[in-house]
């Protein structure tokens, strides 16, 4: 709790320090219409999405790691992000859906399908290699189907339209899209956060949890459905962003002395910070053209992922 407060204070302090208050005040005073456009229409959706999507990735990553009893599970590794992208592409280009909330629903359905497929392929308490292999297979299949769907799409510009979105982007989203992504994600996130104590006890094994009067398979079902809703809604608006959902929970568990359930809320905070920082980097990149968000998170995340993998291997053989 203390830690959360300190983190929150730090973040607020940083925001305060980095905000150019004086020019901002001047702009609001001289041209309120432009200021409104800049702040509310352009900046606000982007900031909200970075914080909300990052928190969603951290929280669902932590919850999925806890129920799969596997520190490598995450929305991207389990294939649920790719499933959500496929769902949203099919909904948008073939069912002709345009409402952001309907697309979010398609994303959630795709993510849920991917997670159910993973449970079928890898089993409930999957060892790391079966989880990674099954997740990889689902990601590849969903990616290929997404490309196929875009190639066959009625609109000839589908590929170009979808490219930025598929690589993960928070730019130029409307407040309606923000609501479609973050309201379901917040509801699902609160649903998941209720289980942090139960997920800690799951560390003792499903039998111990059942002996305490909980229903482990129901817990698993609820976590899978809530994660699918949260991830699906966010992916349908922002595309899939890798690694944040893997790394934020791993970092959070260092703060919770290894407890997988207690790490849920800190993982959400860390995810929000990571994705905001990554989005900041896409804009600061000195290449003239913004680098896609997914590229930044992959560049930062891959070394950490490899480090975790090596450490696990080292631990297994030592």
């Amino acid at each position: 709790m203390k830690l959360l407060l300190v983190t929150a204070a730090l973040v607020i302090g940083l925001i305060g320090m980095m905000t150019p208050w004086a020019p901002l005040r001047e702009l609001i005073d001289t041209d309120p219409a432009v200021a409104h456009l800049l702040l509310v229409e352009l900046r606000l959706p982007r900031v909200l999405l970075a914080l909300g999507y990052g928190a969603t990735l951290g929280l669902t990553g932590a919850a999925l790691q806890a129920i799969f009893a596997n520190p490598l599970a995450s929305p991207d590794i389990t294939g649920s992000s790719s499933g959500a992208a496929l769902g949203a592409v099919l909904g948008g280009y073939f069912l002709g859906l345009t409402g952001p909330l309907l697309l979010a629903g398609c994303g959630a359905a795709g993510a849920l399908l991917a997670l159910l497929l993973l449970l079928g392929l890898a089993g409930r308490r999957a060892d790391s290699s079966s989880l990674l292999l099954a997740g990889l297979a689902i990601s590849l299949a969903a990616g290929a189907l997404t490309s196929l769907a875009l190639a066959l799409a009625p609109s000839p510009f589908a590929f170009y339209d979808a490219f930025d979105w598929l690589m993960g982007s928070l730019e130029d989203r409307s407040l309606r899209q923000v609501a479609a992504a973050l309201i379901p994600a917040a509801a699902a996130g609160l649903w998941l956060a209720r289980y942090s104590g139960t997920l800690d006890r799951l560390a003792l094994g499903e039998d111990v949890l059942a002996s305490l009067g909980h229903d482990p398979s129901r817990l698993r079902t609820e976590v899978v459905i809530a994660s699918a809703i949260a991830v699906g809604a966010c992916v349908s608006v922002c595309g899939s962003v890798g690694f944040v959902g893997l790394i934020a929970p791993i970092a959070a568990r260092r703060l919770t002395r290894g407890h997988p359930g207690r790490a849920l809320v800190p993982a959400a905070l860390i995810g929000a910070i990571l994705l905001s920082a990554a989005d900041l980097l896409t804009r600061l990149a000195p290449l003239g053209r913004a680098i896609p968000l997914g590229v930044i998170t992959a560049a930062l995340g891959t070394p950490i992922f490899l480090w975790v993998l090596l450490r696990m291997r080292w631990r297994l053989t030592s």
Binding site: L204, G205, D207, V208, A210
Partner: protein, 233 residues
């Protein structure tokens, strides 16, 4: 004496024929039988893990009707699996068994099981025997009225097997029910009562000195004693 734990119709399809069981407070009971005889199914059935069959009462309370917090206070279950994948420190692992933080209780259990030097070691980095002790401490932590332990003495050397039996005897003397499955038949003398299972059927239910001389015992295990040593029949 009025039983503390009363169970009726406990069973599991193809693994354990339905049976009734009452256990008195202060008693230590061992469940023995060859591999696959239904020991784990019996313990899981009593802990209500095995599905809805039968009913289990602790005192006047039906286990199925209890909220998780009440169940945690009355029932301690230790599964046979000893793996732990999360890097949780031994001290925190023991505390996971408690509804409210109680440092005094955790420290005294760590002390009883000589885990104090390992208290800050991550449970996934312990030896199997050390982890077995840490997980047992977790099950004991809330001072449950009923302890159901699946092979708590496996992976332990003789010093630890005997020490844990002594600790469980103290727990039982304080009024608890202890029921555990057991492989090492040399340790039967530590118990008040022995249940012998074979192929999912309760074959005998008697005091340890009676059970070892029962012909059913030799038949079930397919061994016999010869001046204190086992040999194949």
């Amino acid at each position: 004496m009025k039983p503390l734990l009363a169970a009726t119709g406990i069973g599991a399809a193809e693994r354990l024929a339905r049976l009734d069981l009452s256990l008195a407070p202060g008693s230590m009971t061992a469940v023995i039988g060859p591999n696959g005889s239904g020991k784990t199914s019996l313990l899981r059935g009593l802990a209500r893990i095995e599905g809805p069959g039968g009913s289990v009462w602790i005192g006047d309370e039906n286990l199925d009707a209890m909220v998780p917090a009440r169940r945690a206070a009355l029932l301690g279950f230790l599964p046979a699996a000893r793996e732990m994948i999360w890097p949780i420190a031994v001290r925190d692992l023991v505390a996971l068994g408690l509804a409210k933080p109680d440092d005094g209780r955790v420290e005294s259990l760590l002390d009883d099981l000589e885990l104090t030097p390992l208290a800050n070691r991550q449970a996934d980095r312990l030896s199997t025997g050390e982890r077995a002790r840490a997980l047992l401490a977790r099950a004991l932590a809330p001072r449950p009225a009923v302890l159901l332990l699946d092979e708590p003495l496996s992976n332990l050397d003789p010093y630890w097997a005997l020490s844990i039996l002594q600790l469980l005897r103290r727990t039982a003397a304080a009024g608890a029910v202890v029921l555990m499955s057991l492989h090492d038949l040399h340790l039967l003398d530590a118990f008040d009562r022995v249940l012998l299972l074979n192929q999912g059927v309760l074959m005998a239910d008697a005091a340890p000195d009676l059970i070892a001389t029962d012909p059913v015992f030799a038949e079930t295990f397919r061994v016999e004693t010869d001046g204190g040593r086992w040999r194949l029949r």
